[in-house]
């Protein structure tokens, strides 16, 4: 305790030096926490988006992912209703959504374009997609009960634009049935959406599962998307489902999330370089201040050594001083970062679209306890390293030389 008290008094001895080091440490800590918090938010958002897009676990026919289908839905799931009910018995599972992937031409009578369609369960699908499907106009699909009503379609914005389609417009879907016969179906535009990726917004459309099955003349679906309550249960549940349904093949969300991994790899590098730069700046700043302090106190160090202070005790004293400054700097930095995290919630700052996307997204900075703890440890480590680096030579200097230092 006494040594800590002496360290505290030494920190206050040269207030300007100590304050400068404290500020650099605080700004460095805040920068790491803000950049890291933003990174965590981005990763979690992308992870959530990917998981909501595909489902946490996708279940399909054993040949679905590795064989090319010769006719549509050759490797589809026929008894999906029974399967769905059976899978949904698991407590960790929120819901199971059937999906039917198909493609073909969509026409407004004057112009035909290629589309990539998905037949979905309207009640569940748009619930799980949540904020990751942006509705631009109209409404989401509904489960149609009147057989006479014209089937509904939701178009991605660029596809709608190219077809000059608006809400209520009638269009025709043309595709091949499971028997290889061409089939067409008139649909009415119910809504226009964007997934935020320009290339996908030129092709995507959603119809109700029953509409897709009617068009393809089938009872099958392509896949079952399993949604969990907790994303971190994915690996466990995928393993369990594989064991429980050996005739089917399962894929976790990350095996379909190419975009997530590419963006994460890019951001990891950006944040990594940024982190290393900040660490170096803090290290050199603390080293610089401590070097001046150690130099100014050479004679004093000589006196302490003469009185029988061990060199390691001298080093420890300088480390304690650095730790006090580092601790104060890190705490101030944490306060700055926490204040920033709270402020951006109210400021509604929009970030430019990430690579390959077209939509801005709101800036949030996560306050993660492990990130804060890790940063605090790193700052302490830097301060301890800098203090050792600058003081061990002085502590081992010949005493006579140290005492003669002017």
């Amino acid at each position: 305790m006494k040594w800590l008290w002496f360290a505290y008094k030494n920190v206050l001895r040269n207030r300007r030096h100590s304050l400068m080091t404290l500020l650099v440490t605080a700004v460095g800590t805040a920068s790491v926490l803000i950049a890291g918090g933003f990174g965590l938010y981005t990763y979690e958002s992308l992870q959530e988006m990917s998981a909501r897009e595909s489902g946490h676990v996708v279940m399909a026919h054993s040949d679905f992912f590795n064989q090319e289908e010769e006719t549509p839905l050759e490797y589809g799931l026929a008894d999906h209703e029974t399967l769905k009910q059976s899978i949904e018995q698991e407590q960790q599972i929120r819901m199971v959504l059937p999906r039917l992937q198909f493609s073909g031409l969509i026409s407004n009578g004057d112009k035909s374009l290629i589309f990539s369609g998905t037949g979905v369960d309207p009640d569940g699908e748009f619930y799980v997609k949540g904020p990751f499907l942006k509705m631009l106009s109209g409404k989401i699909l509904t489960t149609q009960t009147t057989i006479e009503a014209e089937p509904q379609v939701m178009l991605a914005k660029n596809l709608a634009k190219q077809l000059n389609a608006e809400i209520g417009s009638s269009l025709t879907l043309l595709t091949t049935t499971t028997d290889g016969v061409l089939n067409a179906l008139d649909v009415q535009v119910q809504g226009i959406f964007s997934v935020g990726v320009p290339e996908l917004d030129k092709r995507l459309l959603f119809v109700a599962l029953s509409t897709a099955q009617e068009l393809l003349v089938t009872e099958k679906v392509s896949t079952l998307s399993v949604y969990l309550y907790e994303t971190d249960q994915t690996a466990f549940m995928e393993k369990k489902l594989t064991q429980d349904y050996p005739d089917l093949v399962t894929q976790p969300w990350w095996e379909q999330a190419f975009y997530y991994f590419k963006v994460r790899a890019l951001y990891d590098r950006i944040f990594g370089v940024l982190g290393v730069m900040i660490i170096l700046i803090v290290f050199f700043s603390v080293t610089n201040t401590l070097s001046m302090t150690v130099m100014e106190r050479t004679r004093e160090t000589g006196t302490l050594l003469a009185m029988g202070t061990l060199p390691r005790q001298i080093v420890r004293n300088f480390i304690l001083e650095a730790v006090l400054i580092g601790l104060a700097g890190a705490l101030v930095g944490m306060l700055i970062a926490a204040a920033s995290s709270i402020s951006v919630i109210f400021l509604d700052i929009q970030m430019p679209p990430p690579p390959g996307r077209s939509e801005n997204y709101p800036l949030y900075i996560y306050m993660s306890s492990w990130l804060y703890g890790l940063t605090m440890l790193a700052v302490m480590g830097i301060c301890i390293g800098a203090a050792w680096f600058t003081s061990h030579k002085a502590a081992n200097k010949p005493i006579v030389e140290a005492l003669a230092h002017v």
């Binding site: 006494k2 002496f6 008094k9 030494n10 206050l12 001895r13 004679r299 004093e300 006196t303 302490l304 050594l305 003469a306 009185m307 029988g308 202070t309 061990l310 060199p311 005790q313 010949p398 005493i399 006579v400 005492l403």
Partner: protein, 223 residues
């Protein structure tokens, strides 16, 4: 009287670039316990070098040096540090007090190093500060004291752990005549009370005149 310090044929050479300066040449010296010994000689005669060697702040090149029965040449750096901590007190010309520590903390420091319990440290520190007449200055910082007061703090710091040997390098050089007189008197009184041996380098004739023995050094050799 029993012997505290024994120096046999001690030599020390400094290497300054390509030049070699022989600071001490075959010094032979015996200092008894409780003796008050002055070292005199012109600047560059080797007084400080001899004090540094006796105080274990520097190493000699040749000869033997014993403190009591302990042969110093057999000790490693760590053991030398512990020996200084336990056996030797220092009084410097420039006082060398630690500026951020109060008078009490400066004097307490050697006891802290020795690992004494807080209560014992407090008792012994206050006792010696009482002795040197600075009890009312315990909370003062060194720069709030006069030169004489600072040197009294330095003497208290050197003696608080009751070491067998105190090395003092020009302890009165920065003090006026009256203060110097008080400091000499204080060192003698405390030295006699505790049986401490003093080895003092000084140009001050008054100081030398009050010592038990005065040694003259010239060109690194004892006359």
């Amino acid at each position: 009287m029993s012997i505290l310090l024994t120096l046999v044929d001690i030599s020390k050479t400094y290497h300054l670039g390509h030049n070699q300066v022989m600071a001490l040449k075959n010094v032979n010296l015996v200092v008894n316990k409780g003796e008050f010994t002055a070292l005199q000689g012109p600047s560059g005669s080797g007084k400080s070098t001899l004090l540094n060697l006796c105080g274990l702040l520097d190493r000699f090149d040749e000869g033997r040096y014993l403190i009591g029965d302990c042969d110093i040449s057999t000790l490693n750096k760590h053991q030398l540090t512990l020996m200084r901590r336990e056996q030797i007190g220092f009084v410097f010309q420039g006082f060398n007090l630690i500026p951020v520590m109060t008078v009490f903390e400066n004097v307490e420091y050697p006891l802290l190093l020795a690992g004494l319990a807080s209560r014992l440290r407090r008792e012994q520190t206050l006792a010696i500060l009482e002795h040197v007449g600075l009890i009312e200055f315990v909370k003062h910082l060194p720069d709030q004291l006069s030169g004489g007061q600072r040197q009294r703090v330095a003497i208290a710091r050197a003696l608080v752990k009751k070491p067998p040997l105190v090395i003092a390098d020009e302890p009165t050089a920065n003090l006026d005549t009256k203060t110097a007189h008080h400091v000499i008197e204080l060192m003698q009184t405390l030295g006699r009370d505790s049986g401490t041996t003093f080895l003092i380098a000084t140009h001050d004739e008054r100081m030398a005149g009050r010592c038990d023995r005065v040694l003259q050094l010239m060109d690194g050799a004892l006359l």
